[in-house]
């Protein structure tokens, strides 16, 4: 795999085809766990891990699987990987496991995982597929982190609350109180807040794209006229 190829896959996964704000796939967990940064990033990373692993596992065996049996086999493999991740979290990050709860096993049904397997890993070599899964997962994590950050600041006036669930009791002091004595803003914590914030993020990304396009157009029209002059 060349560096150029690597860069392209990464750019595609994290920005151009971002699962959270472009493809809009797998929204259920996005909206449910993005009420705080720690929850959001944790589930995002768990999903990224599953996506990278499933890409790496499925790509090398893609030619062994008969076409008509591929969906059940892919789902089976994804389910095995998710269960392995779930057991490990249950054993070594118990607090976080309890908070994320049902959303860990539900990664199996997150359509973005199967979608990338179908669209990418079933047609490409293992390394590329793993990178694609990781990039897509990290793109999702980035959106989740921003969403979680915005909702947490508006909803609770804090950032990184619950970080002790990941790094142990000592991490309690890492929590940042953005607004002291904040009374909370219910809408930001409840699901509608997630929809509204996500909508703004999508609008923001479209605006950036549009601006980049216009800049490109301006440059394109400028060049011939300057040549004429």
């Amino acid at each position: 795999m060349t560096a150029q190829e690597f860069k392209e896959i990464f750019y595609n996964g994290v920005w151009k085809q971002n699962t959270g704000v472009v493809q809009l796939l797998g929204l259920c967990p996005i909206l449910a766990v993005s009420s705080s940064v720690v929850n959001a990033v944790s589930l995002g990373l768990a999903t990224a891990l599953v996506m990278a692993l499933s890409g790496a596992t499925i790509a090398p065996i893609r030619n062994l699987v008969p076409n008509e049996a591929r969906i059940p086999v892919f789902i089976l493999i994804i389910a095995v990987l998710v269960t392995v991740v779930q057991y490990s979290m249950n054993a070594y990050m118990y607090g976080l496991y309890v908070v994320l709860g049902i959303f860990i096993p539900l990664i199996v049904t997150n359509c973005i995982v199967l979608a990338r397997i179908e669209a990418f890993a079933s047609k490409n070599p293992a390394l590329q597929s793993a990178v694609d899964g990781l990039a897509m997962g990290l793109g999702l994590t980035a959106v989740l982190a921003v969403l979680g950050g915005i909702r947490e600041v508006f909803g609770h006036g804090t950032l990184l609350s619950g970080i002790d669930l990941v790094f142990g009791e000592a991490a309690k002091s890492w929590v940042i109180t953005v607004v002291p004595n904040y009374h909370g803003f219910l809408l930001a914590i409840l699901p509608p807040g997630a929809f509204i914030t996500l909508g703004m993020l999508i609008a923001g990304k479209n605006w950036l794209n549009l601006r980049a396009e216009q800049k490109a157009k301006v440059v394109a029209t400028m060049t011939p006229s300057s040549q004429a002059a």
Binding site: Y87, Y94, L186
Partner: protein, 219 residues
């Protein structure tokens, strides 16, 4: 055609067997750490409402399985933990459910000392509105400690209500349904304790397995 189907079926079987093997290995590797962290979690919760100096036994292992009961609010068996000091029963930790909260079930643990006073109450899980009804969580507010030290003797039956309903328990503006449900559930837990005291505190054969001691958690 038949051959192709057979091939597909065998292929599926092959992957199913491999998948199962991987899961079996993962389970073998993780089930002990999982059991340990679950026990630690329980002990951490129990130690909040049962002060370590009033029991010296392995409280998580000294458990009684209780049949479903209206006073506990559950419709399945639940587990109670019994603390003993020098062999004498000193505290019982009950799991109760309040079903009449604002939304969904509120799961609580209530500890009752042998003299009938409450050691403490904690919410294990709830679906009350964030920012309104969630002050029943110790992480959000100290409200839940109003029960500490209360008993059926110190507050008579008519007092087991929030102040708005003429009882003796404070509540916070904005959400009365939630504390009302919690007060009721705690009251019922005390009644359950009073009725089943003997059964809860009877001696049980000591569990064989070594478990995490309360000392280990305190550190």
């Amino acid at each position: 055609m038949a051959k192709a189907s057979l091939h597909t079926a065998l292929n599926l079987l092959f992957f199913a067997v491999i998948g199962t093997a991987i899961l079996a290995i993962t389970y073998q590797l993780t089930h002990e750490p999982i059991a340990r962290s679950e026990e630690m979690e329980k002990l951490k919760l129990v130690s909040q409402i049962a002060p370590a100096e009033i029991y010296d036994n392995d409280i998580i292992k000294d458990s009684a399985e209780l049949a479903a009961d209206k006073l506990l609010g559950n419709d399945d068996t639940s587990v109670a933990y019994i603390g003993r000091l020098k062999g004498e029963p000193s505290i019982a930790v009950l799991q109760v459910i309040a079903s009449d909260g604002y939304s969904g079930k509120i799961r609580l643990i209530v500890s009752v000392r042998s003299d009938g006073r409450i050691g403490g109450v904690r919410v294990i899980s709830h679906k009350e509105t964030p920012g309104l009804g969630d002050y029943i969580e110790i992480a959000k507010n100290k409200w839940i400690t109003v029960f500490n030290g209360t008993s059926l003797d110190s507050i008579k039956d008519s007092g087991w209500k929030v102040k708005k309903d003429g009882g003796s328990f404070d509540y916070m503006a904005g959400a009365t349904i939630t504390p009302r449900a919690v007060v009721k559930a705690v009251h019922k837990a005390l009644q359950y304790f009073a009725q089943h005291r003997e059964e809860l505190f009877k001696q049980r054969p000591p569990a064989k397995a070594e478990a995490v001691t309360s000392e280990g958690v305190k550190k």
